[in-house]
């Protein structure tokens, strides 16, 4: 299989663009070149694997190849500067996670939230307030009360990342004191929680579905607007009067100026690809369901909302530099 590199085609496409400006915007000839998905991590992680699954299933919907290129560094800023240097022709798609949003907020990215346009969302994994199955905290109120009187040791990933901002937003809204213990991965603090090293953690269902089913972990609340299909009995933080909604999301964006007909083609191809059995099986494997998938409109709105909420928390917590 031959996967030509982009640069060659950029030169080619610039030439064609000069020859026939009007023709190049016609939907009929899009995509005529391979489409790149730029990913900000090394091969093998969750974001990379998801992108490769999406590339594989989207490719089947299009005549063109779709490939993943890893552009690691700077909490997504390497991938973002790459995207910003490309022309808004829909041939460069970028995988976006909350990490990108926080990098933008800190002003470390050459792109702002208004420079990108959501195409589709591939996974949506709300953060769940979780304690051990044999914990004294039977309800969210009990946890909050304990946190108001003492300190709750809370596990999450790197300080400054989505887990941290989510935990701090929750602590802020509930007026609790949280001592944040950062770990390398979700599986690590899930293990720490089950050992009892920490009191609570913000975990995703994808990491804990089996433990919840077995009663080893007890979900107290979901950081989302609506209850999760998989956990219909677990209330949301919104129901408890806290406007805290954070999710481990992965989706895809293009530059804002991309012609709308091309955006439409990309969105449809991605959504059709994600509807395939293969992608559905993958979602199931990571503990999610089809509610993860969303089109351009929903995804773009979610990006903006998360950006605003994150910005608010970061300003309040004095994390902006």
């Amino acid at each position: 299989m031959r996967l030509p590199m982009k640069h060659g085609y950029i030169i080619a496409s610039v030439t064609t663009a000069i020859l026939s400006v009007s023709a190049s915007t016609l939907a009929a000839d899009f995509p005529s070149e391979p489409i790149e998905i730029a990913v900000h991590t090394s091969p093998g992680g969750g974001t990379d694997t998801t992108a490769r699954m999406v590339a594989l299933t989207t490719k089947e919907q299009l005549d063109s190849n779709v490939f993943v290129q890893n552009r690691k560094g700077g909490g997504g800023s390497v991938a973002m500067s790459y995207l910003s240097e490309q022309s808004a022709d829909g041939y460069t798609v970028m995988a976006v996670t909350p990490t990108h949003l926080f990098t933008m907020m800190r002003g470390n990215a050459p792109l702002s939230i208004d420079d990108i346009q959501g195409v589709a969302r591939a996974t949506d994994d709300p953060i769940i307030v979780m304690v051990r199955g044999d914990s004294d905290y039977q309800t969210l109120d009990q946890l909050v009360e304990a946190g108001q009187q003492g300190t709750i040791k809370w596990g999450g990933t790197q300080v400054g990342g989505v887990d941290h901002i989510a935990a701090m937003s929750f602590a802020d809204a509930a007026d609790m004191t949280v001592s944040y213990v950062p770990f390398d991965s979700g599986a690590e603090f899930a293990a720490a929680l089950s050992r009892g090293d920490i009191d609570a953690a913000g975990l995703n269902i994808s990491e804990t579905r089996d433990q919840i089913d077995a009663g080893e972990f007890r979900p107290l609340a979901v950081m989302a607007d609506e209850r999760m299909g998989a956990l219909p009995d677990v209330p949301t933080l919104a129901e408890n009067g806290m406007d805290v909604s954070f999710s481990t999301v992965r989706g895809y964006v293009v530059l804002k100026d991309t012609p709308s007909d091309r955006l439409k083609i990309l969105e449809e191809a991605m959504l059709d690809g994600m509807a395939s059995d293969r992608y559905q099986e993958y979602l199931q494997g990571i503990g999610l369901d089809e509610s993860s998938i969303a089109g351009a409109e929903t995804w773009d709105q979610q990006l903006h909302r998360m950006y605003e909420a994150g910005e608010k928390t970061m300003t309040e917590l004095d994390l902006m530099q």
Binding site: M1, L3, M5
Partner: protein, 153 residues
């Protein structure tokens, strides 16, 4: 340099490095005490740097009154090879990996005294081409090709 101080040069270089990097750690951002939770980000690097400084002093002291041991010679070939590798760093971006490795594969054998020039020429073309075919077409790993990128995918 007094020859009776063994390891004086590496010791002083290490101390200089420690001084520079320690100054850098003072420029690290500090986080609100509520997040630092006992350890600021500069704590561990500073501890390690101070440890290196202390060990470097011990090393210099141990080398006191000992002659520098015999070191392998460093001929012009070493310096030329070093210069070649350093210039390669700047060429990778421009010329791309395949073309630059072709150049190093041509230059290094000649520099090291190889005189069969046809052989070197064939070798310097064949090696990068094989690597290119293996990585780009078998392993699907795109290499940056610089000026050659319109032709090599």
């Amino acid at each position: 340099m007094p020859s009776r101080w063994k390891d004086l040069l590496p010791g002083l270089l290490l101390l200089a490095m420690v001084a520079v990097l320690f100054a850098v750690t003072l420029q690290f951002d500090t986080v609100p005490a509520a997040f630092a939770q006992g350890m600021q980000s500069s704590a561990m690097p500073q501890l390690i740097l101070l440890l290196i400084a202390a060990l470097a002093l011990v090393m210099i002291y141990q080398g006191h009154a000992q002659g520098e041991e015999e070191k392998p010679t460093m001929s012009w070939r070493f310096w030329a090879t070093s210069a070649l590798l350093l210039s390669a760093v700047f060429l990778f971006e421009r010329l791309g990996i395949t073309l630059t490795t072709a150049l190093t594969c041509f230059a290094i054998p000649l520099l090291w005294g190889e005189r069969r020039i046809t052989r070197v020429a064939i070798y310097s073309i064949a090696t990068p081409v094989c690597i290119y075919l293996l990585f780009t077409h078998v392993l699907q790993l795109r290499l940056p090709q610089g000026v050659l990128s319109p032709w090599l995918s």
